[in-house]
Point group: C2
Chain length 201, copies 2
């Protein structure tokens, strides 16, 4: 059997595992259920993954790394006008944290924090934490060039994302319907306008 076929099998297991994870949560997910979807023998799964913990742990850590990736990439190279930059950051932030996969991994990190104590920290730091740090760097620069006048940059950045997030993330976590994208975008732009109004020099 060729290497690509081996990889395909492994990826099929991971994909099915991801589905099971999203449907049943970390504790509710079972190897048997993955097996029902991916077919084949249980032994094959245990060939690639040491245990249930190993399988779903691999899926979870991969998801954390992938889901929040756009927030870690630096947008600082395309700094444009203040409003445009802040709105771009806000839009990216909302796109990332409101995506179905992100909400699912967040739910898992929140609920199964017991047993996986470092998962929540990893998710926060590669997601919202990274976004705050990146915005803080940008705000620091705007401070220096006299566009903004912020005393506590870190707090301002967290308040910015707090406004942008509004109650949207909470609604998503609880499974409530979200407003239409146009309405979400309107709220985000109002948040940007408020933020600039507070801190402009």
């Amino acid at each position: 059997m060729s290497k690509t076929q081996v990889e395909e099998k492994r990826e099929a297991i991971l994909e099915a595992g991801k589905e099971v994870l999203f449907e049943y949560g970390y504790l509710g997910a079972s190897v048997d259920e993955v097996l029902r979807r991916v077919g084949g023998s249980k032994r094959t799964i245990y060939k690639y993954f040491e245990s249930k913990e190993g399988l779903f742990g691999a899926i979870v850590t991969e998801l954390v790394n992938q889901a929040m990736q756009p927030l870690e990439m630096s947008l600082l190279d395309k700094e444009g006008e203040l409003y445009a930059t802040l709105e771009a950051l806000g839009q990216t932030y909302l796109d990332v944290i409101l995506r179905e996969e992100s909400v699912a991994i967040f739910r898992i990190a929140a609920s199964e924090g017991i047993g996986h104590p470092t998962l929540g920290k990893a998710l926060f730091e590669s997601g919202p934490g990274a976004a705050v740090k990146r915005l803080a760097a940008y705000l620091h620069h705007q401070n220096k060039i006299g566009v903004l006048a912020i005393k506590d940059i870190d707090l301002a950045a967290r308040h910015y994302y707090g406004m942008v997030r509004s109650d949207l993330h909470m609604r998503a976590l609880l499974g409530l319907p979200l407003p239409a994208p146009a309405e979400i975008n309107r709220g985000m732009r109002q948040a940007v306008a408020s933020f600039v109004g507070i801190y402009e020099a």
Copy 2:
């Protein structure tokens, strides 16, 4: 056996069930584990509660109703000066949503939304939703008497709580340590100052 004793037994079951629920989550919680803590016979539990679903469902709904209660009580009768009122609302809000019990019930509502589809809605509406509605009513009044000039009151209220919440609730959900109360309070007061700065007439 007297009625009070019967009530005591029932309450003991509920109390132990609450502990188990917080430790293991909704799916991980088991009747056997409750039994290990409260003692006695399994039959007794099934005398008071129809099933596992019935037991933990009762606990969850009771928790939702109790945990968010302070946010539903109207503070409008003690309206004072603008800053003081907004800070009081913010402080109450943070006290409620960052409490250990609230975080736990939120985790449950978020993660086990599957199978309990209405729980998330109930929690949101009796908690953050109620807070927004109450603040919106207050802001509407301040608009009328010329203290504030807000175009979209509902959006402003959600942005207010977004700033107050900052990333604190997210951190709590993910099991990360929170800043010291003094630091939290400082951030909240800055949020109030920013809010008033945006919308004062």
